[in-house]
Subunit: 209 residues, 3 copies
Amino acid sequence: MLLVRFFPREFNFFDSFDAHAALAVEAAVFFRQLVEKGEVDEVALGKMQTIEHRADETTHIIIDQLNKTFITPFDREDIHALAKQLDDVVDTVATIVNRLKVYNLRGPNKNLIEFSKVIEESVRAMAAAVQGLRNVKNSKVIAKCCVEINTLENVGDSMRDRVLAELFEIEPDPIKVIKWKEIYENAETILDICEDVANVVESIVVKQA
Amino acid sequence: MLLVRFFPREFNFFDSFDAHAALAVEAAVFFRQLVEKGEVDEVALGKMQTIEHRADETTHIIIDQLNKTFITPFDREDIHALAKQLDDVVDTVATIVNRLKVYNLRGPNKNLIEFSKVIEESVRAMAAAVQGLRNVKNSKVIAKCCVEINTLENVGDSMRDRVLAELFEIEPDPIKVIKWKEIYENAETILDICEDVANVVESIVVKQA
Amino acid sequence: MLLVRFFPREFNFFDSFDAHAALAVEAAVFFRQLVEKGEVDEVALGKMQTIEHRADETTHIIIDQLNKTFITPFDREDIHALAKQLDDVVDTVATIVNRLKVYNLRGPNKNLIEFSKVIEESVRAMAAAVQGLRNVKNSKVIAKCCVEINTLENVGDSMRDRVLAELFEIEPDPIKVIKWKEIYENAETILDICEDVANVVESIVVKQA
C-alpha cells in the first residue's frame, strides 16, 4: 500500500475528460459520415486511426496523472472507469470501421446508417453529461443527458433485435451473416458503453450530493 | 477524493442482495421451464423482460446506496462486484431467451434443456452462498455452495465442448451453427458468472476471518 | 468497511507473480510447439489443462493472500488486476488449444504458427516486465519490455486484419470461417491482455516514482 504520492501539479481532469469526450464525438460524427458514404478507403482508415491514437494518448495521460496525483476532483475508481469507457467508445467505433474494410463491405447499408445516427446522438449526450461534471450542483443537465442515453440504449437494443432477425431471415449467404452480425452487435455495444458512462457520471453526482 | 458521504440510512445490503439473488433464481427457473416447453412467445419475452428490469432496478438501488453510505457490511469493491455479477446472471439468461426469439428457434433442444438444469442448480447454490453472507462465521454453508458452483462450472465446460463438437460435426447448415454456437456459449457463460460470484463471496469470508 | 485484517505472514507477492508469469511463458511455449506440430491430442490437452489449473491455483493464492494481508508491496487494485490478467493469458491460450480439438482442426496452420511466435515473444517480455517490479527504481528494463509488448500488440492487430481478410476472401466453407475467425481473434486477444499487464506494470512504476 502506497502512502506517498505526488501532489497535484495543476492537472485539470475536467479539461482532459472534455477532450476525451470530444474525440468520441469526432469519432461518432466521422463514423456516421463514413457509413452514409458507404466506402472505407485507406484515407478514411488513416483518419479513424488518428482519432483512435489521440484517444489512447488522452487515456494514458489521465491514468498517468491519476497515478501521480493525491487529490482528485472525484473518486479515483470513477476517474479510472470514465477514462477506460471513453476509450472503449472510440475503440469500438474504430473496430467497426476496420471490419468494414477487412470484410470488404461496400455501399451504404440502411441499418448501419440508422445505427450511426443513434450512436452520434448518444455520444453527444454522453459528452454533455461528462461536461456537466464541472458543476455537479446543477445536476439537472446531467440527469437529462443520462435519461437520453438510457432511452437511446433501449432504441439500440430494439434495432439490433430487428436487424438481426431480418438478417438471419433474408440473407442466404452465411459469410455475409457472420460479417453483418458482428458489425450490428458492435454498433449496439457502443450504446451500452455510453450507458456505462452515464452510470458512472450518475454515481459521481450521487456521491457529491 | 471525497470524504463527505451520507451516513447509512437503515439500508440493508443483505436484504437487497437476497432479493437480487432471488431474481436470478426466478430467471433460471423460468428459463428452464421455457426451454423445456421449447417456445418463446411474446408473453414469455415480456415476463423475462420484467425480471430483467427488476434486477436492473435492484442493481441501481444497491449501487446508489453504496454511493450514499459510508459504513458498509463488507468492502465496497466486493459490494460493487456482487451487484454487477448478479445483474450479469439475469442479463445473460435474458440474452439467450431474446436470441431464441430473434433467431426463431422453436422446439425443445435437449442440450439446452440439460444446460438449463445445470444453470438452475448453480444459480440456486449461488443464492444460498449470497444468503450465507449474513453470517460469515458459519462459513461451512458458504464453502459447500462454492464447491458446488465450481463443480457445476466444470460440468458446464465439458457440456459446452461436447455440444459444440457435435454441432460442428453434424449440423450441415452454417446459419444454424452460428445461432446455436452463440446460445450454448452464453449458457456456459452463466456458469462462469456464478463462479465469479462464488469467488467474491469467498473473498468476503477470508477478509472477515 | 473492514479495518481488521491479518498482518503479512511472510507471503512474497513478487515470488508468486514470477511463478504466475512463468506459467504464462510455459503455456505460450507449449502453444507454439503444439501449433507447429499441428495436432492436439488427449495428451496435449491434458498438459494444457495442468498448466491452466496451476495458473488458477496461483491466482487464488495471490487473491487469498491479498485478502489476508494489510500491507502490500503495491496498490491492492494493481495486485488484483495483475493476478487476473496473468490468469487470463493462460486461460485464453487454453481456450484456443481446446477449440483446435473441439473443432477437429488438424495440420499446421501457417498463420497460427506466426501468431504463436509473436505471442511467445510478448509473453516473455511480459514476464520480464513483471520480474522488473522487484526493483522499480531500475525502471529502464520495465520500460523496454513495455515498449516491446506495445509493438507486438500492433503487429498482432495487423496480422489479425490480414489473416481475417484472407480467410473471408479465400475460404469457401462458412463453417471453417467460423472456426478460424474465432481462433485468430483469440490469438490477438492474448496480445491485448499482455498490453493490459504492461499498462498495470507502468502504473505501478509511476506511482512509486
